[in-house]
Structures are given as structure tokens and as C-alpha cells.
């Protein structure tokens, strides 16, 4: 029974949370990587786009809750999500029209666009703080657990419980659906193919009559959808706080770069690599080892490699290792 208990403890504290977190990072990294592939710059406003999308969804959720509309066992936020995506898409399209298009026409160096995105980041951050404030907002409702730790113990007779929160399950399911839809779109539809063509070789795509403004607009809409979904899922799973979304930039970029900037498959792989390493390195393995090792060898300390506050250090270390040894990322992204 002991190895089973160890496995359940590991699943409860490492595998389940890391999978949910990885799915959120993967969705965020997909947005970053798409912008990089099509518009060819690193969008520093992405974290704040996620915060904006989540904020709109939260406001709509509160309105729905006030109208006594709920979604049964599922969080009401899922009902508000499409409208949240629509508002965010309008915002990023307007931003592109007012801000980015000018520089695109001038064909400025990518680094200038990065600085421009810093300005957009300030503005979006200001809007979010202005509208909803800087505090934690809880908006999850519906059933809390898919499997409750006590039920699991009663069911299996093990000492360790396994709890899976509804939000974690929803995160994974939504992420799978979204990613499947995105890949279907990119690989099977005419528009998706034109996007990939534009990403691979801009001049050739222009010659074959692809309308660049249309490609860019569709990219922004997809990115708004990905950012809003990622933001809402992260907010449901943890809590919504504008500043944490800004801090997510680092793991998200790390995921996108580790996977290879510009490569959608890489972004997903990168998201999970970063999430699993963050959670594993900062998890105290005392309990798991306690089950596995004989009593005499039971560890005295927490057996934690690094304290949780150093989770940024983990994304960073992986990022540096990948950059030093395989600068194009795990899946070859764009190098130019």
C-alpha cells in the first residue's frame, strides 16, 4: 500500500496542480507565440491582456449572478466567457488599429514594437486597476470538488486523499478543446493556412495574394480569445489579482521560448515543462519519501529543493539552460 500512498500524495500535490497550471501557461504561451509568429515581436502586454479579459468576464459573471443565472455545477464564469472574449477582442483590435498598425506600416525594428507593447502594457494595467482595483477577487462558484479527499480515502481505503477541484478539471478540458480547435483552424482551414504561410514567409504570402491586415486581425482575435480563456482559468483556479497576471509574463515567456518562439506545439510543451519543473522543485517531498523509504531512513527535513518563493528562479533556470544549449527552443521556432 505504501507505494500507492506515495503515488496518490504525489498526484495530489504535484501532478494535478502542475497539469492545471501547465494548461494555463500553455494557453498564455500560445498567445505570445502566435503574436511572435505573425507580428514578429514579443508582446509584453500579454499578461495584462489576460488580466483585462479575466476582468471583463468577472464583471459579467457578477452581473449574471445578480440576475440569479447560474451554470449548475459549473462556474458561471464559463457562461460569461464568450462575451468576455468579444470585448477583449474589440480592445486588442482597437489597440492594433490605433497603436501597432502605424509601426507595422513603417516596418520598424522588432525591439521598437516591444517598447511600444510596454506602453500598451502600462495603459491596460491602468485600465484594469482603474475598473476593478488591485485586490483579490473571487468569482468561482458551482461545485468545488470533482473528487473530494475524504471521499477518495473512503472509496479506496488508502491513507492519502486525492482531491481534484472542479476548476482544475475544467482547466484541462477547456485547454484541450481550445488547443484542438486552434490546431484544426491552423491546419485545416483556408484562413489558418494563410496565417501559417504569412508566418513562414511574409513576402511569398503577400505575392500569393494574402491580405496581411486580415491575417493580423484574425491573429489578434485568436490571441484575445486565448488570453481571456487563460486569464479566466487561472483566476478560477487561483484568484484574480491584477499584479499576479503581470508576474505571469515571465513563466509564459519562458514557456514560449523553451518551446521555440513561433511554434504552437512548442508553446504547449513549454507550458507543461515550466509548470512541472516549478511545482516539482518547490514541492516538499517529505511525505512521498516517508511512504517510500523504510522507517529508519525517513527524512527529517522537508526535502524541499527550493522554497516556493523561488519559483521564478525555476522558470528562469530552465530558460537559461535552453537558451545556452538549444537557442531555437525544443521545437525549432523562428530564428530571425
Amino acid at each position: 500500500m505504501e507505494p500507492l500512498n506515495a503515488l496518490v500524495a504525489l498526484a495530489n500535490f504535484v501532478i494535478v496542480p502542475a497539469t492545471a497550471y501547465g494548461a494555463q501557461l500553455a494557453l498564455g504561451a500560445l498567445g505570445v507565440t502566435l503574436i511572435y509568429g505573425i507580428l514578429r515581436f514579443s508582446n509584453f502586454a500579454h499578461g495584462d491582456t489576460m488580466a483585462f479579459g479575466a476582468m471583463v468576464t468577472i464583471l459579467l459573471t457578477w452581473w449574471l449572478q445578480a440576475q440569479d443565472v447560474t451554470f449548475g455545477v459549473l462556474p458561471t464564469a464559463l457562461l460569461a466567457l464568450p462575451a468576455g472574449i468579444a470585448v477583449t477582442a474589440l480592445l486588442v483590435l482597437a489597440t492594433d488599429r490605433v497603436v501597432y498598425r502605424f509601426y507595422r506600416r513603417q516596418r520598424v525594428a522588432p525591439v521598437i514594437l516591444v517598447i511600444v507593447s510596454m506602453g500598451v502594457m502600462f495603459v491596460m494595467n491602468g485600465i484594469v486597476r482603474f475598473v476593478i482595483g488591485v485586490d483579490d477577487q473571487v468569482f468561482a462558484d458551482g461545485a468545488r470538488f470533482l473528487i473530494n479527499a475524504r471521499d477518495f480515502r473512503d472509496l479506496t481505503g488508502l491513507d492519502e486523499g486525492l482531491a481534484i477541484r472542479t476548476t482544475q478539471a475544467i482547466t484541462l478540458v477547456t485547454a484541450i478543446v481550445v488547443v484542438a480547435a486552434l490546431f484544426w483552424f491552423l491546419n485545416r482551414t483556408r484562413t489558418g493556412k494563410s496565417m501559417r504561410a504569412y508566418s513562414d514567409n511574409e513576402d511569398l504570402a503577400l505575392l500569393s495574394g494574402i491580405d496581411p491586415e486580415r491575417v493580423v486581425a484574425i491573429t489578434w482575435i485568436i490571441v484575445a480569445a486565448l488570453a481571456t480563456i487563460a486569464g479566466v482559468l487561472y483566476g478560477l483556479d487561483k484568484t484574480f489579482k491584477p499584479f499576479t497576471y503581470f508576474q505571469l509574463l515571465l513563466p509564459i515567456f519562458a514557456a514560449a521560448i523553451v518551446g521555440g518562439l513561433g511554434s504552437p506545439v512548442g508553446a504547449i510543451a513549454g507550458g507543461f515543462v515550466i509548470a512541472f519543473s516549478e511545482v516539482t522543485v518547490t514541492y516538499a517531498f517529505k511525505k512521498v519519501l516517508g511512504y517510500l523509504l523504510p522507517d529508519a531512513l525517513e527524512p527529517a527535513g522537508l526535502m524541499q529543493l527550493l522554497s516556493t518563493d523561488y519559483k521564478f528562479a525555476v522558470s528562469f533556470a530552465i530558460l537559461v539552460i535552453v537558451l545556452l544549449f538549444r537557442p531555437t527552443g525544443l521545437f525549432r521556432g523562428q530564428t530571425s
Partner: protein, 434 residues
Amino acid sequence: MTFPLRNLLLFVAMLVLILMAGFLQSWNVALSIFNMGVISAVMALGVNMQWGYAGLFNIGVMGFVALGGLGAVVVAMPPVTQAWAAGGARVLLALAVGAAAIAAAIQLWRRLPRGAVRVVALVSVLSAGFFHFRWIFDPAVAAIEAINPAASGYLGGLGLPVLLAWPIGALLAAGAAWIVGKTALGLRADYLAIATLGIAEIIIAVLKNEDWLSRGVKNVIGVPRPVPYEIDLQNDPDFVARAAGLGIDAATASSIAVKLAYAGLFISVVLVLLWLAQTALRSPWGRMMRAIRDNEVAAEAMGKDVKARHLQVFILGSAVCGLAGAMMTTLDGQLTPGTYQPLRFTFLVWVMVIVGGSGNNFGAVLGGFLIWFLWVEVEPLGQWLIVTITSGLPADSVVRLHLLDGAAHMRLLTMGLVLLLVLRFSPRGLLPER
């Protein structure tokens, strides 16, 4: 040295803005804005060296500023002798072991032939080093932090004069910059950006969590000052008499006198830095840096060592940011790791450089003053604006209260708008590079 009239006028206008704050608000506010403006100008000078001279995209300014602040603590705070006795030597030993493991790993990687053996050797050396490090380090930290945790619980500093901390803070930042530069320079601009963003977060995490070093979120307060304390001035009959002669009460006069003393110190630093930066920019070295920035391939073909020059200017710029950090901690008299936020200490400095005019040292200084002034003054202005706009609404109206609440966040919005407007309509900044 020629100084165009336009530049002079802009600097005079900036001075008038600060004087207006003095007349309309209070001289205390105006002097605080001025002092932090000088510090911001130093930070902007550092970033301008990296971005304006060399085109290096560093968004880890916060980390280097915080290291400078740590420098102030390590140099100026009195040592906690009990803590040193309890675990000081052991902590140093642990750090040496950690550094040795990393050095050994790097040597192994260079010496061994490519292949699986090399990877296994690297991983085993690093993990053995890490566990040894933790095995020596953890008990020492526990011992140090156990000593009077409410008042000290850390190693303290060296007890040296705080002005020494300024160059030492710069050195600390330069050391960190050397490590970052060695690994991340030579990568693409976006990668360097993410790497510096990451190192800044890590430095802040270290300051927040390594209580033995910086007391973490418990903050180090009472860092010694290079200028007199207000309370001593107020107890000095000579000073009180002179203040009365000027018609100011002693409390106000003492705080203004202290701020003026800081302002004098800071101005001399910024003038020396400006002189150095201008001389460097106009020297052959400066021309080479700009040549590298404008065309790396051509500069390399001319025999310039692009990578080494990038590393050099990256270290120099980061050191200047560290100097600013040490100055700021000295001015505040405390190190509060919890208050270091990237928007305030990294991205705001970037706004200063871009608005001032990248590549122009005077532009960086002007940008530092102007953006800091806006950062401070936007909040009361926004408050006033909203009170005026909503004056038609009843005093307890929900909309009005929410807007008043939000006025505090106007500054981020304003900074973003300023940055976007300057980038769009005057991309070379207020004082363009010649």
C-alpha cells in the same frame, strides 16, 4: 561644450515645474520630488548607456537597483556580532562551496569531450554541489535567524560610512551584470529582455526570502545617514535661531535642511556622472559603441570585439543603476524588498529614457526628472480632476466614489499614454541624440 538653447529652455521649464510644486504644495514636496528626480536621472543614465549607446534591451533595472540598496545595508549597518559568531563563517563557507561547484561544472563542460559522459558529469557535480551547499547552509541560516529575530535576525553590515556604500552598491550590481551578461548577451534582443526580467525577479526573491542577508520582508530600517538627523537640528539652538530669523518654524526648517543636504550630495553625483558619460560618449570609445549599435556586422568586420564591448557597457550601465539604488536606500534610510515592483523600477525608467531621448545623456536626466514629477503629481491632479468632473453628482454617489478610488491608478495609464504618444509623434524624445 555647446549646449543648445532648446535644451536649456527645457531644463529651465522643468525647474519651473518643481518650483511651482514648491509654491502651490509645499517646499517639502518639491524637494522630495527633486531628490527622487535626481535618483531617477541616475537610473535613466544607466539605462541610456545600455540602450542609447549600445542598443542593449535590459528590463531588469529593478534587480540592479535593489542590489545597490542591499549594498547600502551591507556596508553601513552595524554588524550583529552574535549572528556572525553563530553562523557567519558557515554561511560564507556554504557560499564558497556553491560557487566552487558552479566553477567546477563550467570547467568540466569546457574540458570534457562532447557526449553523454559530459552531461552526466555536469549534472552530478551540480547536484552534489547543491546538496553540500544546502547541508552547510541551512543550519547556519537557522542559527543566524534565531538571534533576536524581532530586532535583527540577520548578519548586519560592516558598519562603514554610508557614502562608501554607493560605489559598493554599484560594484554589487556590476557583479550581477557580469553573470547575466556572460550568459545572456549575444542572444537576440527579446531573449536578453526576458533573461534580465527573470534575473530581476530572482534578485527580489532573494532579498525577500534570505532573512539572514537582508531581513527579508521584515525590512532593514535605520540605515545610517550621511547628513544630520532632523531631531538633532531641532535640538540645536543655533539652528533654531537661524530658522526663526528666516521666519520658518524649526520642524519645517530641519526637514528642508536635511533634504537640501541630500540634494547637494545627489547633484554632485549626477554632475560627475554626466561629465563622465558625456566624455565617454564623445571619445573614440563612444563612437565605437554607436557604430556597433548601428551596424554590428560592419563593426565586427572593422575588428571590433562586439561581444566584449556589449558586456562592458552592460556592466557599466547596471553599475550606474546599482549606484542609484544605493543612493535611494540612503535617502529612504531603509531597505524594503517588498516595495520593489517592476512597473515602478524597470518600466518607468524606460519611459524616462524614451521620453527624454535615447542616446542623449541630458535627455535621460531631463526624462528622469519629468517622468518622476508626473508620477508623483498625476495622483493629486487626477484626484482634483475627478472631484471637479463629478462635482455635479451627490457626494455619496457610487460612481463618484469609485472614480475617486480609481484616481490613484491614473498614473499607470498616464505613463502608458505619455510613452505611446512620444513614441508615435516624437520617437527620438525631447532631446534627440545628435
